[in-house]
């Protein structure tokens, strides 16, 4: 498998006057061509640094970044700048030129490459129509809404026909509805042009909605990565469990951890049921599985949490069950559920519901 982006044993250390901060430690990941790859983590977890290492806006302290097999560390200044025109970037704060009109902003990367002005404008017009802003070409960024500004930024990012689009918290400054529209636009562009998109976010919903793969970053370390679907069904890391099982965005992890510590003492006094999490896939969500199970075993189970979501057009869901005390019955129930094609796993103390 050829990867368009490969990160190998990447470390980034920032030195301040009297301390050094390890922003990233031993990051390894591979992104396939045409993929939408999410990188999720808490603010300050190092994901913005990571994405800047992918176009060498930040130079890693150790390790390598390969784009289409080419190690970036081996490129000269001009070669690196040439490559950067193939790796576009959009930002949380849009970063448009406030003194230039919308169309001049979109023309900007083309002007840098010395494209003729009328040729650049023709291309910019076409891109503005792709992002649905044809009527705004002579407006200035300050006259636009956040969503419109991000659309201009997307048009600008696409102007140089890049192979890769890096999105650094591109929807974090937008309201949920606008976020949806921008994500749909990104997805559409990915489908139509085959561009590889790498998305940095702290919102699980962004990953769920458009990413195929995801990497979870916690305190500068990549704790888990893989297909979004697999991580959804079987989160392995604690951070993954927080994200998937609890639906908690990274910014809530710390609070969740503290809450749990506080409650740990009380919990021991209570009788603990054995708890399992089951994840529904597309075919199983139509069958009343739990109902059938209860009828089959003649013993009730306690539904502690249940929710289903629309994930990329397919109904997906999860449920957390408290099983009866009988150890053998528990095993039978689990076997029965697995037999129904469901992903079943134990929920340990580390996760709230």
């Amino acid at each position: 498998m050829d990867y368009i982006v490969e990160v190998q044993h990447l470390y980034k250390t920032f030195r301040t006057k009297d301390a050094q901060v390890e922003a990233l430690r031993d990051i390894n990941l591979q992104v396939e061509k045409g993929d939408i790859y999410g990188i999720i983590g808490m603010s300050g977890a190092g994901k913005s640094t990571l994405v800047r290492c992918l176009n060498y806006l930040e130079v890693p302290t150790k390790g390598s970044v390969l784009v289409e097999g080419q190690p970036l560390s081996e490129l000269s200044g001009p070669q690196l700048r040439k490559l950067r025109s193939q790796i576009s970037m959009i930002f949380q704060s849009f970063n448009l030129l406030m003194q230039k009109s919308v169309i001049d902003n979109v023309c900007f990367p083309l002007r840098i490459q010395n494209m003729k002005p009328d040729q650049a404008r023709a291309k910019a017009r076409q891109l503005l129509s792709v992002v649905g802003l044809s009527d705004k070409e002579n407006a200035f960024p300050s006259q636009l809404s956040g969503g419109q500004m991000q659309r201009v930024a997307i048009a600008r990012a696409l102007a140089s026909d890049p192979k890769i689009l890096l999105c650094d918290e591109a929807t974090s400054a937008l309201d949920p509805q606008t976020t949806q529209q921008i994500l749909e636009l990104l997805k559409k562009i990915n489908e139509e042009t085959g561009i590889t998109i790498i998305i940095i976010t702290h919102q699980m919903s962004v990953v769920r909605d458009i990413c195929n793969h995801v990497a979870i970053i916690e305190d500068g370390v990549l704790v888990e990565n893989g297909l979004v679907e697999d991580i959804f069904n079987h989160p392995k890391s604690r951070a993954g469990r927080y994200l998937v099982v609890e639906g908690k965005d990274p910014d809530e992890w710390e609070k969740a951890r503290l809450d749990r510590e506080r409650r740990r003492g009380e919990k021991d006094l209570l009788h603990e049921d054995r708890r399992i999490r089951i994840a529904f896939s597309s075919n199983s969500s139509f069958e009343p599985v739990i109902g059938n199970m209860v009828l089959h075993f003649g013993t009730p189970v306690n539904i502690l949490r249940a929710d289903t979501r629309d994930v990329k057009g397919v109904a997906r869901g999860q449920m957390i069950l408290g099983l009866p005390e009988d150890r053998q019955l528990q095993e039978e129930m689990i076997a029965w559920l697995i037999g129904r094609g469901l992903a079943v796993e134990e929920v340990d103390d580390d996760v709230d519901y």
């Binding site: 576009s88 448009l96 406030m98 230039k100 840098i112 300050s142 140089s160």
Partner: protein, 220 residues
């Protein structure tokens, strides 16, 4: 008293003041603009940090800015003679005015360029823009309102300096004010020249601010 000759002299004074101020500002920017760009670009956190270059330029700028204008005027008389051929009159005054204004302008330019949003610069870098393209298409464009405001301040300051140069034979309105008001006790002529200087200052300020808000695209 208010003869035609006096009015002609005042008219010539206005012309000389404008001439000295505008030409000095122009040449001041010819030197000060690139100077300020280099300061902004090479400083830590600039787009091309270069500690030795910044340190040296920063030091020279500070030295030049700390020499009082009147001292500088006398100090560089040999230079003025070399360039203009004489050391008195309004054309000769332009030399010390430029030498004094350039480092001041460089600082104004430096601070304007440092105000430019780092994110926008980063965006340009991510597109593969080189240092020169970022200076030309991002820094100078995004900072243009602040640059014009700075130029307005420089123009006013240089007008003030040009009047000061009048005390040592520099010509212009300042020269008239000193000659008539101070040496001949003709306070009325002095008052008129001062009023005219105030008016010039007001016009510069108004024009500068009008241009600045006229070219600002950040307001809808």
């Amino acid at each position: 008293m208010w003869t035609i000759e006096v009015w002609q002299m005042i008219g010539r004074g206005i012309f000389e003041s404008l001439y000295m101020t505008l030409v000095s500002t122009l040449f001041g920017y010819v030197l000060g603009l690139p100077w300020g760009v280099v300061l902004a670009v090479t400083d830590e956190g600039g787009i091309k940090p270069n500690r030795p270059v910044y340190r040296v330029l920063d030091f020279i700028t500070n030295i030049m800015r700390s020499i009082p204008f009147l001292i500088l005027l006398i100090l560089i008389i040999p230079l003025t003679r070399m360039i203009v051929g004489k050391s008195y009159g309004s054309t000769a005054t332009i030399v010390p005015l430029v030498v004094s204004a350039a480092p001041f302008i460089a600082r104004m330019v430096e601070s304007s360029l440092k105000e430019v949003d780092k994110g926008v610069i980063e965006a340009a870098q991510s597109m593969g823009a080189d240092t020169f393209q970022i200076i030309l298409h991002v820094l100078l464009v995004e900072a243009r309102v602040s640059l014009v405001t700075g130029a307005t301040i420089c123009l006013g300051t240089i007008l003030g300096y040009s009047a000061m140069a009048g005390t040592v034979g520099g010509g212009g309105l300042g020269s008239i004010a000193i000659q008539y008001g101070y040496y001949r006790y003709q306070a009325d002529i002095m008052v008129v020249t001062v009023v005219l200087l105030v008016l010039l200052q007001q016009i510069f300020q108004l024009a500068g601010m009008t241009i600045a808000s006229g070219i600002d695209r950040r307001r809808s």
